[in-house]
């Protein structure tokens, strides 16, 4: 069992090495003529106005929080799906109750306007 994961580990190492080599090639062969204008952030040809990283709309946080809620739900589905044939009707009923509880939260979020994007 552990061997299977070692195989994946070997592959991760290989992939990282290849990515680092690719970046290294660019560093090695690319010309380097730096100037202060060149290293300014890109802003469609004009001098950049204000800082580059600034406050972000709160909607993105909301989406992230909702994602965590529902993604955990999906993760709960995975083990249930594997043993579903052994669980039978009991498993279906359990999951139906689980889905209903989550749907209440989902409908609440929808009605509160958390899913709107205006």
């Amino acid at each position: 069992m552990l061997l299977e994961y070692i195989a994946i580990g070997v592959m991760i190492a290989l992939a990282t090495v290849i990515a680092v080599i690719a970046i290294g090639l660019g560093e090695l062969f690319g010309p380097k003529k730096r100037s202060s204008v060149k290293s300014e952030p890109y802003e469609s040809g004009i001098a950049p106005i204000g800082p580059g990283t600034r406050r972000m709309p709160v909607r993105f946080y909301l989406i992230a929080v909702l994602f965590i809620l529902f993604d955990i739900e999906v993760i709960f589905f995975l083990p249930w799906a594997v043993v579903f044939r052994q669980l039978g009707l009991f498993g279906l009923a359990e999951m139906a109750i689980f889905i209903v509880i989550l749907l209440i939260g989902y409908i609440y979020a929808w009605k509160k306007g958390a899913l709107e994007w205006e």
Partner: protein
């Protein structure tokens, strides 16, 4: 744990990574040629016969390009971001079976045609696929550029929103295959592909994967008119190439996953079963069948890009959260119900799944249509 095993791991890993890398190079050519054909152009055909060396020329050009780093950029994260995007794309293919196994001549050593067959293969796919979000967010944030940051934010919000439906589609495949190991899922599709049993699920899978790899019509992070080039605005040279590589490699790997979960994987087409063209007969047919399916699925992705305009961002999020999520939840429930019925009353009842899911899909289309009509009436 002997030396031969290490060598086997390294060779298999290398072959898989190089297959994906070569696939990436020629996918760019394939896409450009196919897009050109759809738009009644010819496309790149100068470098070598039929433009065969175009990817090589592109790579050489990118290596010799100057790389710029914006002045106030976070230097470490700026370099780390492309690596973090491309590594998951390359290792995602590790659990996908390309075939069964064969015996190495002379050494008499059985070699499996997959890097590893872990019993939580599908979980591995979901886990690794979501790591790519980090790379894109970090790229956007570390660039110190407004467009890049907005692009990174948009991209992350979009990817995590569609990941929910994607995860539920994985659940459907697990339910039907009764295992998380991709090899078992492929074997379960020996007689009938899961796309036949769960057509709507396969369709949702393909839609969500388009959003997941930021492809048209869901390429909001790279909407030129609004965000310049989105999260990779500030990247040039090989660092840009790595983002490009990640996107196309993910396209390939996700087509492989779609083929494995819903289109029978490396298994032969149903009408070839028991003939000489079966995978049981010749092991080397497995990768060929998988490649055929991947090429067809990739063409669908290119075709979609050539045909459909970009979706507006608010509609994109609404589509993910309000349509795909409830619909895929319903599909999971329908699939479970159908399996239960088939277990209780006989295998014929498995066909309640496609009937009910197509019905659910139609209801969803009807509801979307009605709500759009209401919006038009209001405006």
């Amino acid at each position: 744990m002997d030396l031969a095993l290490w060598i086997e791991f390294i060779i298999k890993g290398f072959i898989l990574i190089f297959a994906v890398l070569t696939g990436f190079a020629y996918l760019t050519l394939y896409e450009r040629r196919a897009l050109a054909r759809i738009q009644t152009r010819i496309g790149p055909n100068r470098a070598g016969p039929q433009g065969f060396f175009q990817p090589v020329a592109d790579a050489v050009k990118l290596i010799f390009k100057e790389e710029l780093t914006p002045a106030k950029a976070d230097k470490v994260l700026f370099v780390l971001a492309p690596i973090m995007t491309v590594v998951p794309a390359m290792i995602l293919a590790a659990v996908i079976p390309l075939g069964t196994q064969f015996t190495l001549p002379f050494l008499n050593r059985p070699v499996t045609l997959y890097v590893s067959d872990i019993n939580v293969g599908v979980l591995y796919l979901t886990a690794i696929a979501s790591i790519a979000v980090y790379g894109i967010v970090l790229a956007g944030w570390s660039s110190n550029n407004k467009y890049a940051m907005l692009g990174g934010l948009r991209s992350s919000a979009q990817m995590i929103s569609y990941e929910l439906s994607l995860g539920l589609c994985f659940v459907i495949a697990i339910l039907l295959g009764n295992s998380m190991s991709l090899l078992d899922i492929v074997e379960a599709q020996k007689s009938v592909w899961f796309v036949v049993i769960q057509p709507v699920g396969a369709l949702i899978f393909m839609v969500t994967t388009l959003a997941e790899v930021n492809r048209a019509p869901f390429d909001m992070p790279e909407a030129e008119q609004e965000l310049a080039a989105g999260y990779h605005s500030e990247y040039s040279g090989m660092k840009f190439a790595l983002f490009f590589m990640a996107e196309y490699e993910k396209m390939i790997v996700i087509s492989m996953i779609a083929a494995t979960l819903f289109f029978g994987g490396f298994r032969e087409f149903w009408f070839l079963q028991g003939t000489v063209f079966s995978v049981d007969h010749f092991w080397w047919l497995g990768p060929i069948y998988l490649l055929l399916k991947v090429v067809v699925l990739l063409f669908l992705m290119i075709w979609v890009r050539a045909t459909w305009p970009r979706i507006r961002y608010d509609r994109l999020m609404a589509f993910g959260w309000k349509v795909l999520l409830p619909l895929s939840l319903a599909l999971v429930f329908i699939t479970a119900l159908g399996i239960l019925l088939a277990n209780q009353f006989g295998a014929i009842y498995i066909w309640t799944i496609p009937v009910l899911s197509i019905l659910a899909g139609l209801i969803a289309v009807l509801l979307v249509n009605m709500s759009l009509r209401r919006k038009v009436a209001h405006a």
